[in-house]
């Protein structure tokens, strides 16, 4: 993975090389752009279908075809999805799940990055005996299917007394974010010129002083990458949400699934699609705003699977 992170980093910034093709409509160009455009349309169709379905009224959904644009635009499904869609007995919509997800994601991102950045710094610049062994276990652990570790963690959280609470889930996210985050920071700090570190040591700066005054200000880009990676990852989590929270603390993804796949009542496809977009909105915004940084992050974070 480390290689991938390195190659994808600076290389993506390289401009197209060589002379431009002379004929804009050569057979080669038509083939390349034609294929790419077709594939792009295919990739965009689900997003399009989600949006148009969520803007139709139910009678129109039942009559029409899913690809046709709405004849009459209505925002009612969005309002309903947000504030009054039902899961079981609760009918307060996705808003509860949204705020739960916010209350899960924000502390989880902060906690996991705080732990991992300091840890990566210790591994890169203050190597001590045995550190490599723990680090290897940590990285190999990233590949262990979560299902293997789920139940021991249930017991652990129950012992501490936070099973079912949001803080329990935050701890779980911090634990499972640790391998990739530590790897990310360790590789980044290892590439910081050694002279800087040595000079600070000579000046008498200690472990925390060097971290706070030199490493932290120097490494803002990697912090941004880490925040992007963790925000989307934690927001999109479903498994841990199902296992470690109760219905009133369910994150948005779990609540969305319960709303759409509930067996009671008439299916309101337009409300379902509005709810689906609402859930996907946060990671999508992060993705479109962050652009290249996201690509860098996933290339480094691809190990997460």
């Amino acid at each position: 993975m480390a290689d991938v992170a390195e190659i994808s980093g600076p290389q993506t910034a390289i401009e197209p090389r060589g002379a431009r093709p002379r004929h804009a409509f050569s057979r080669r160009n038509i083939f390349i752009y034609g294929t790419l455009i077709l594939v792009a349309v295919y990739y965009l169709i689900p997003l399009y279908v989600m949006v148009v379905t969520s803007l139709k009224g139910m009678p129109e959904v039942r009559l029409g075809n899913i690809f046709s644009p709405p004849m009459e635009i209505t925002f009612e499904p969005w309002v309903k999805a947000w504030s009054s869609a039902c899961t079981g007995l609760n009918c307060d919509g996705l808003s509860r799940g949204f705020w739960n997800s916010v209350r899960i994601t924000v502390p989880s991102v902060i906690l996991s990055i705080a732990i991992a950045s300091v840890n990566g710094y210790a591994l890169a610049n203050w190597r001590f005996k045995g550190a490599d062994i723990f680090f290897t276990v940590l990285i190999v652990g990233a590949f262990i299917p979560y299902q293997v570790m789920i139940y021991p963690i249930v017991i652990l959280l129950r012992e501490i007394g936070i099973y079912g609470s949001l803080s329990g889930l935050v701890l779980v996210h911090a634990i499972f974010g640790m391998p990739i985050m530590t790897l990310l920071f360790r590789n980044y700090f290892a590439a910081v010129p050694e002279e800087l570190f040595k000079a600070a040591r000579v000046d008498g700066a200690g472990f925390w002083a060097i971290y706070l005054k030199i490493m932290l200000p120097m490494s803002l880009p990697i912090f941004v990458v880490a925040i992007i990676l963790q925000t989307t990852g934690i927001w999109n989590d479903f498994l841990f949400g199902v296992v470690y929270t109760r219905p009133d603390t369910y994150p948005m993804t779990v609540q969305l699934n319960n709303i759409v796949n509930s067996v009671q009542g008439v299916k309101e496809y337009n409300v379902n699609m509005a709810a689906t977009i609402l859930t996907g909105l946060v990671p999508l915004i992060v993705y479109f705003v962050s652009g290249r940084l996201f690509v860098r992050g996933i290339a480094a974070g691809a190990v997460k699977g």
Binding site: V4, T35, N125, R127, F128, A131, L138, F143, Q147, N236
Partner: protein, 297 residues
């Protein structure tokens, strides 16, 4: 840091050790300890609560006798093999197309990758809607005149796994494309020049020179895809719920259902140990090569 500077006494590097405490605890107690615990308890008859009553391999015998588990494993094989092949092929072809010094490269890449930012639950629900037999693709094609058109993967037990595959490919191929593109950009431009001078056709250069050179990228990608395949869970839960019947069950769902709904922990532990085993077969040799060799990475 240079090796000589490594402190000898236990307390010299105390702050670094304190900083690494969360990692040590996680690595020891959660990753190593938790996995061992699960493997150990898979040999017990635990039901509602974990009890250490050793029953040998009984849970495994029951597991492999269960039709649901066998369906789940079979599904994972079909889904796994096909998504491996298609992700590699489509991901590589898209990357090769994007690597042709084209315009709007960023736009295309942004479009191919955006599904990856979404949750599997979102992906599963969108495709559930698109593949809905009464409103989705099937009904649209029928309304265009082909009234006998059959395409109903979500309610047809024989092909339901392909419905899930379609959604998974939509979500995951962009990532593979990005990894492949990074690999292609890592190939020295001189290689291309040399093959052009020798008059070797482009496709031959790809097949016999570029692809063999990208071996490390392929291996990393293989590990990423493989470990993702074994974990497939949320997508199935959202898109089909394992149905129709048990036709689209997967091992991860079997584990969850037995642990938290059927109150049969022993079965869940045995099933998750099988998952661990299947990942270990791929990851252990790779991790040995990747991390065992270069200590100072």
């Amino acid at each position: 840091m240079p090796q000589q500077k490594r402190p000898i006494r236990l307390l010299r590097n105390l702050n670094a050790k304190i900083a690494a405490v969360p990692m040590m605890l996680t690595a020891t107690f959660v990753f190593a300890g938790g996995s061992l615990w699960t493997v150990l308890y898979s040999f017990t008859s635990s039901k509602l609560l974990p009890r250490f009553s050793f029953v040998g391999a009984e849970q495994y015998e029951r597991l492999w006798a269960a039709p649901r588990w066998n369906v789940a494993v079979e599904n994972l094989f079909i889904y796994g093999a096909l998504s491996l092949i298609f992700q590699f092929v489509i991901g590589f072809l898209l990357a090769a197309l994007l690597d042709q010094k084209i315009r709007f490269e960023d736009t295309f890449r942004t479009i191919f990758l955006y599904p990856f930012a979404l949750s599997f639950v979102v992906t599963g629900l969108v495709w559930q809607w698109i593949l809905n037999p009464d409103f989705g693709v099937q009904s649209v094609v029928r309304s265009l005149g082909w009234t006998n058109f059959e395409f109903n993967p979500l309610y047809d037990a024989d092909i339901v796994i392909f419905g899930i595959l379609i959604a998974a490919l939509w979500q995951g191929t962009g990532l593979i494309m990005c990894l492949m593109l990074a690999g292609l950009r890592g190939i020295d431009e001189d290689i291309w020049k040399a093959s052009r001078v020798d008059g070797i056709p482009t496709w031959k250069t790809y097949l016999f020179i570029v692809i063999p050179m990208m071996r490390p990228v392929f291996i990393t990608t293989l590990v990423i895809i493989a470990s993702g395949i074994v974990r497939v869970y949320d997508l199935v839960v959202a898109q089909t719920g394992g149905g129709p019947g048990i036709a689209s069950e997967v091992p991860a769902k079997y584990v969850y259902d037995y642990m938290f709904h059927a109150q049969n922990l022993g079965q869940g532990f045995a099933a998750s140990t099988m998952m661990l085993l299947s990942v270990a077969v791929v990851v252990v040799p790779w991790a040995y090569l990747e991390f065992g060799r270069r200590r100072h990475g």
